[in-house]
């Protein structure tokens, strides 16, 4: 197809990754539900994963992909603990609105 490059350049992946990371960060800042915030953070991690894979591909080496596996494992553990905490909060407050958690301040 004319007009489209044969190979998608690394920069395009990096750009997409940066945009996804930014969307995730904005999600953390803007959403009120602890659950959605947590999902946004997962989006940020996966945005970085995209960068890592792109770099690995660029260097022609596997270590970028290997790091991604580490990140996924870590993220899974984080999700398990995170969801447990959020569920616990929900059970005691019947809400996961993060703005309710503002007793500690000053």
């Amino acid at each position: 197809m004319p007009g489209f490059p044969e190979v998608v350049p690394t920069e395009a992946y990096l750009g997409l990754s940066a945009v996804l990371f930014g969307i995730g960060a904005l999600g953390v800042v803007l959403r009120k539900s602890a659950l959605t915030m947590f999902m946004s953070i997962e989006l940020m991690l996966n945005a970085v994963n995209l960068s890592l894979v792109a770099f690995g591909r660029q260097f022609g080496r596997l270590d970028g992909q290997v790091i991604v596996f580490f990140v996924m494992a870590v993220a899974a553990a984080e999700v398990a603990v995170g969801l447990a905490i959020i569920v616990d909060i929900y059970r005691s407050r019947r809400s996961v609105d993060i703005d309710d958690a503002s007793w500690l301040r000053g």
């Binding site: 260097f59 993060i98 007793w103 500690l104």
Partner: protein
Amino acid sequence: MTFALPALDWWAIAPMLVLVLTGCATLVAELVRGDDAGRAPLAWLTVAGASVSGGIALGQWDDPARLAFSDMVSSDRFTLFFTVLFLVVTCVTVLFAFEQLRREDFHPGEFYPLLAFSTIGMVLMAAAADLVITFIGVELLSICLYILVGFSRRRREPEESAIKYLLLGSFASAFLLYGIALVYGSTGTTSLACVGRALGAPGGLVGACEGAVATGSVATGMLLAGIGLLVVGLGFKAALVPFHSWAPDVYEGAPTAITAFMSVGVKAAAFAALLRVFLVAFPTLAPDWSVLLAVVATVTMVTGNTVALFQRNIKRMLGYSSIAHAGYLLVAIVAASHAGAASLLFYAVGYAAMNLGAFAIVVVLGRAGEERVAISDYAGLSQRQPLLAALMATFMFALAGVPPTVGFVGKFYVFSAAVDAGYVWLALAGLASSVASAYYYLRVVYQMYMVDPKEVVASHSPHRWVSLVATVAGFAVIALGVFPGGIIGVATASTSFVR
């Protein structure tokens, strides 16, 4: 079909392996004896495991420095120094927790394995020879802590601490990871030493650097952005301003034992990682990042010391105080020199003594439920508990940096390293902000010695182990202030990789 097990240097990670076994053993033991009476053995098992681990670390002191596990971890004196420090902090935390959880009548056994695993995370952060290991150390530490900060019978505050720490902590981890990715993308490697070599740093312990792209000491924008993101990610754990907002809230809400653990252990681990990363991977870029960190250090010292003036809760006050001390520690990294690195290690030890001592008093005086943590609860303590009051006063004066305590000597080392590196203004800014700190530390002493007790409280006999910790810390605070030579010698030997 057989797989040949690669030749692995198990001995290099023996202290961590012992901790893994300790954690698993406590987990199993907890299953076997699920009742509350079975908690004391868990605590002692943890202390025993940590002692064995620390003993191994001390035994490895004269081993040659080397990289192990495919150049992922470094086994050198720096690792061992921090390993021993972390293990001491862990043991003290166990003693605090045992006392506190017993009092609160809330004593799940998972506490001890989680503590052991988060200690492994801290050791990994200090030992990391590769950014991936730094990341894994941070995550291992954090994930365990997310649970531990919410560990209490009370619901509201600990729960809030946990969710705040969880959300902000994982937020910061994403920045850390992005930083690692950008450094990888710029240099083609995540090994600290290989990054350093790619950037033109001389020699040191370097493994095989396949794929590393020699970029010379001229940094690209992407690399510098990556460095900035690493500052964000690690700065969060170290509670540097502006990544500190979680610290006061989490410190206040968490059980005191965990607050002590975080303010001393986690902070030291974050600085160990910062030091490794910045002085092994990026020493040639020091002129670039040291200015940035100097500004962060100044803002951190000023913020911590001014906001602490307003605190009524002692845990929260110590939280802001720990932010200010993070600023002092960062000054040592700004110096980007061997002297600066040695002074950081010295300060970490001194700070551990001062802060663990102060928290020991907070634990001893705490009560179930409300915990009695308002500064005004300390009114007239000198009349009821003269020894505890004297110890607390010692810690407060030490934290304020009054000689001849370790607080003064530590600041001396850190600031004179900065002066040597040409950062006279930074040293002066640090001194000025530390002068303000006298005011809030002294308020505690003022309450203890010059205000009559509000109510007559039946003085309960303090837990002997926690009191012992406070007494030992009190001696250490003075002794290290008068005879700092030993520790500074060890610290110098532990940081010989810094040039």
